[in-house]
Structures are given as C-alpha cells and as structure tokens.
Amino acid sequence: MRKKVFVLVLVGFVLFFAGCAQQPEEKPTTTTPAATPTGPKEETLYFGAPISLSGKFAKEGQMSLWGMQVAAQWINENGGIKVGNKVYKVEIKYYDDESKKESVQSLIERLATVDKVKFILAPYSSGLTMAAAPIAEKYGVLMNSHGGASDYIFEQGYYYVVQTLSPASKYQTGFLDMVKTLDPDAKRLALVYEDKEFSRAVHQAAKEYAEKLGFEIVYEKTYPAGTTDLSPILNELKAANPDVLIGGGHFADGQLLAQQLAELNINIKAISILVAPSLPAFYEALGTKAEGISAPAQWETGVKYSPEVAEKLGVEWYGPTQEEFIKMFKDLAGEDAEPSYHVAEAAAAVLSYAKAIEKAQSTDVDRVREAMNDLEFMCVYGMWSIDPETGKQVGHDMVIIQWQNEEKKIVWPESAANAKPCYPMPTWDEKAEGKTCGS
C-alpha cells in the first residue's frame, strides 16, 4: 500500500510536468493559399516578450504590449519582412512576468528554448532587463530594450543587448542644448533632484554635459524620496541666482518643486523637471503656474517625425505615420485610450528588429546584431541608431515638452517640434495675473 501511494505520487508528478512541458505552442508555418507556387514563401517569425501585465509595472507593460502589437500588425499589413525568397509575418509571443525578476528569468528561458524565439523584447525597467541579460546571453538570443533606460545595462559588456529608448544620460541634455541655442548668455545652472538611482544618473550625466557646453554650476542639491518640503533648499537656491534649473524625480516631488518655486517667488528663465510636467495632472494641479515649465519625454503625441522630415534629414523612414499609428493603437486599445511614450518605444523596438533582419537578409542572431551596428532609420518614435560596441541608443533624441497656453507643446528638437519654445518663461507675478506663454 505504502509503496503504491508513493509510486502513484511519483507518476503524478512526472505526468504533470511532462504534460506541461509539451504544450505545442508553435504554430505550423503557414502558407497562404493565394501565393502562387513560385511566389515567396510565407512564414511566421516570433518575437518574444516577457511583459509586466501585473505587478508594479502593469500599466507600462500593457502600453508596451499594445505598441508591439501595433508594430507587428503594420509590418504584416505592409508586406512582412522579406528575407531572400521568404516573407516573414511577425507575431509577438508574450508572457506575464508580474514585474518580478525571478519570473523574468524563467520566461526568457522558456522563450529561448521551448518557443525557439531568437529575438526578444526586453522586460520593462532596467532592473528586470539586468536580470534577463545573463540568461539571454547564455542562450545566445538578442534582446532589445524598450523600457530599460539606465546606462549601466550597456556598460556591463553584454553584446546581445541593444537599446531603443534614449538612455538616462540623455534625459536632460536636450534641454541644455535648447537653452544654449536660445540664449548663449544664460550660463548659471542649478540642479535640484531626488536622491534615487535614476534621477541621480540623469543629473550626473547632465552636469557633465553642461560643463562641456560652458554652463557654470552655481547650485546642486539632492533631496530624499518622499520629501514634503523643499523650501530650505529653495531658499539657498534663490541666493545662488540661477538662470536655468533642472531637477525633479517623480511626480509628487516635481510638482512640489514647481509649487514652492512659485510660493517663494524665485524667477528662473527656464525650468526642466523630470516626469511631473509631462502628465496632464501637473497642469490641473498648478494651473497657470505651470506655464513655461518644461520636461524631457521619450515621445509625445504630436511629434513631427514623418516621412517628409526623414527625407529632409536624408534618412530612411520605416513604419506607420503618426496618424496611422494612433489609429491602429485606438483600434486595439479602445477609443478612449491615449498612447503614452511606452507604446511608441515598444513599437520602435519591433520595427528595429524587422529592419535589421531585412538588412541582414538572415534571421541569424549574430548577423542581425551586426546589421544593427550601422542601421539608421526614422519611425514614429524618432531616430534609431546604436553605438556598435555597447548597443546603447545614440540616434534617438529626447523631446522637450513645454506647457504653453494650457497645452503641452513639443518645443525641441526642431525636427520634432510643433511649437516655438517660450523663453524666458513669464515670471511668477506675471503668471499670477494670468499671463501665459504666447498670450
């Protein structure tokens, strides 16, 4: 009896796992009946993705998934990926990683071995991308980061990890370029930012860049996460009399920064704050005080990137135009949904794979990675080109948004802008009287 139970339990286990292991997920390669026997052969190419559909990155994860699906749909409707006499249709194979590092590792292995996927779209956030990298490297699959902005991912020597979004080090540099172009005399720069890994990385890099541009750092201070009062810091800041201010970290502290600058009546010619101003809630909370405040963004609805701009710059355009992109997104996500930058960056990652595979004329990982080295194209998300050695994104520019007359306008770079920058921004007193940018 004892033995029987034991054996039964064992058999049960083995059956359970054997059954689970052999889910025939791979669809047989399909040949369209319409294709003539001599025409191109059609096959399905899977791009794999561990996506955070639950957990702390659930919102960003869902947006990224929609972005990937929009890009895949566009590729399939526009002739697929042509390699030799084959045409590949793209399909996204995704699992939910619950925003957890342990799950990411299991799922990357599953994608690489069970699903035999060779091109992976990295999980959301830098931490999860780091967790995935050793496993991806072990199985020799390519990983394209659309949600891991930190520079350190690309400083570890992973050859098979490439980046589509702009790295942290570039977040505030565009704004500095803009100020320098508008007013070469505004030299006094102050930095006030949150003491968190990401905002530190952003502002350390910005500081180095500012020194190169000839800015003079007159004040620099960090504040801990969860601060509810910045007035001691801002009083010191006032004494330093800066022309330009960059800083922030998350939404709450970014809003607090703007709010208290107004309360203490500290007038600065140009302000760029991470995260907060890019959300509509910022204007709702501050009203006219938000006028003229800028923020860096990976992408924003209304950017001017288009086939015409690409032609002017002499680069190739690939992917849907912005109208097509937004329409396809709304068909998928619902009429009320607004695409966030996560959608655009995930779509760009899929498009870059397609473009690189076409360029390499192969689905071999090494050849595709090599083809990526000198790949350059523009899509709805902007430019795409990487540093060959590290895989870091160098082509894409952050766009700078600015609140003008109750609207979020894109003011930089010129190839993306839909409005002129408002510089210097109105003083707090002027704003209190109802003056807005452009009024």
Binding site: R2, L10, F17, A21, Y94, Y152, Q156, Y158
Partner: protein, 326 residues
C-alpha cells in the same frame, strides 16, 4: 533516534524536480523558480512554523545575504574565485548581526506587536542603506561588468546560470536536514511547548527567549544563504528596493501556511504548488493569472486549514506511511 526517514519524501521531490529540469529543455529556470519558493518556505518554516511567530520583516535576512555576497563580489573582486566563499561568510555574518539586534529586542514581543516591529526593521534598514549611502545607497551594487572583467564573460555567465543554482539546491538540502534535526531535538520540543502555550512553557522552566532565538537564528542564516545565491549570484546586482521588497515575506508566509506550518514536508509541498501554479498560469493566461491564482489559493486554504501536509498527516494517522511524513 532522529526520524531521518521523513527526509525521503522531500529529497525525492527535490531530485525529481532537478531531473526534470535537467532533462526537459526550457524547464531549468522554472524549476529553479520553484526551488526558490521551496527554499524561502523551508527557511521561514524553521522559525514561523516552529514558534508560531509571524515575521513580516523576514525578507530583510535575504537582503542581508544578498548584500553580503554583493559586498564580497563588488568590493573584493580582486580575490578572484575566493570572493564567492567570502560572500557566503559575509552573508552569514550580516544576517547574524541583524538577527542578534532584532531577535534580542523584538522576540520579547508577541503576536501583532512582533509582526509590526519586524516590518519596522525591514523598512528602517532599507532607508538606512539608501539614506546613509551604504554600499552604493539607492544605486545599489551592480556586478555583472566586474564579474565579466574578472572571470571572463563565459565563466561569469556560468556563475549566474549554474553555480548560483547549484548553491541554492545544496542550501535547500541542508536546510531540510536542519529542520528534521530541529523538530526532533530538545530545541524542537521546547519550541513545541512555546508554540502551544508560551506562558506555560516559561513556568515549566523553559528559557523561551533562548529557544526562540535559536529558531530565529537558524531561519535567518538559511534565508541569508538563499539571498546570497538566488539573488546576488544569479542576478548579478543588488538594489535596495528590490531586496527589501516585502512581497517576498508575504509569499514565504503563504507557502508555509499552504503546505502546513511546523512540518518538514509542508513548505516543500507549499512551494511546489505555489511556484508551479504561478509559473504555468502566467504562461497560459498572461495577465489574468492572478484572477485564477487567488481563488485557487483560497480554496486550498479553506479546504486544508492546517495546510496540505497537515491534512494528509491527519488522514494517514493510523497508516504506516506516517513515519515518512513529518
């Protein structure tokens, strides 16, 4: 005199899991995912299951282990391969220090007060590390680049895809032996008395704080070893937000309760059910798995209030096989 017979079933489960992981393509990481859950279950069970105290700050010990290994590999990289044993030693030392500090004070509290005090320790420690910029502060310790430079990319990969997993497996085997030893020794009997009625145990002349500390210490050090191997060595980075994430404590508690607190087999079965369900649900129903997972957990907990193993034990009380289940 110890009932080492009861180790047969858990060891058989581990060996079968490992065999499946090695033989089936694509199942090694999922098996290690399950093993991680079994590991934190077994580790926490040594304290929570035996004493009946619920430690909501348990993840802090895993974090200490993760930092021990992180500090060794990050700051003593020049020791080469010796940095890894040093990492385990540091993990033990850090966990022991925290254990003394927390145990000496908090273990004198009971019930909800103990639980609250431990949450405080977990959060406080995290803010201390971030605020005082200890070990990289909020930027954490990132190791992959260093490891790849010191050991070469292939060996670095081998470290995080094989050595880390092997270490975790060994730790789990040892932890199970320790649990059996604890349950069947004087310590186990004393703890049983504490769990049933702490005041009565005190009156009987049992030094309750001492035995609780022993259980706390054992559990903490096993946790630290798991943190050192399954987190730092495997993931090649330590971020304070990640390692002090209270979610892991909750998961460990669920696993212990699911399988049966205070039993050897309990956390093993609990971890297996929890890990396997979670993995396959996230593969089959990406995005909706929690909708299925939560009711399933509820059903199991309602059907087996003493845990799956507790239930089986009760059913099999008269049978001979009971000697194999502890």
């Amino acid at each position: 005199m110890f009932k080492f017979k009861s180790l047969i079933i858990p060891f058989a489960i581990y060996i079968i899991l490992i065999a499946i992981g090695l033989s089936q393509p694509g199942l090694w990481q999922p098996i290690m995912y399950i093993m991680f859950y079994i590991g934190i279950g077994v580790a926490l069970n040594n304290f929570m299951g035996l004493t009946g105290y619920v430690d909501f700050g348990y993840v802090a010990f895993l974090a200490m282990g993760a930092y021990g290994m992180g500090v060794a590999l990050g700051y003593f990289t020049y020791l080469g391969i010796w940095a890894i044993p040093l990492g385990f030693v540091l993990a033990l030392i850090f966990a022991a220090l925290l254990c003394t500090a927390v145990g000496g004070v908090a273990l004198r509290l009971r019930g909800a007060y103990f639980a609250i005090a431990t949450i405080g320790v977990n959060e406080g420690l995290r803010y201390l590390i971030e605020g005082a910029k200890i070990w990289g502060g909020s930027e954490g310790i990132i190791l992959s680049g260093k490891l790849r430079k010191t050991f070469g990319p292939e060996f670095a990969n081998y470290l995080s895809t094989f050595v880390a997993d092997a270490a975790l497996i060994i730790i789990i085997f040892i932890a199970s032996v320790i649990t059996v030893y604890m349950i069947n020794s004087r310590v186990g009997y004393a703890l049983l008395a504490v769990r049933e009625d702490e005041d009565a145990a005190k009156v009987m002349g049992i030094n309750v704080t001492k035995y609780k500390l022993i259980a706390f210490f054992t559990s903490a050090t096993i946790g630290a070893m798991i943190g050192a191997s399954a987190w730092t060595l495997k993931l090649t980075y330590v971020f304070p937000e990640d390692v002090f994430f209270i979610h892991y404590t909750v998961e460990a508690i669920v696993i212990v309760m699911l399988g049966g607190a205070g039993t050897l087999l309990g956390p093993v079965v609990g971890g297996l059910i929890y890990g396997a369900l979670k993995y396959y649900l996230s593969v089959i129903l990406p995005g909706f798995q929690l909708l299925v997972f939560a009711p399933l957990l509820l059903v199991i907990v309602v059907a087996f209030p003493e845990g799956v193993v507790g239930f089986v034990k009760k059913k099999l009380q008269e049978r001979g096989i009971i000697e194999y289940i502890t």
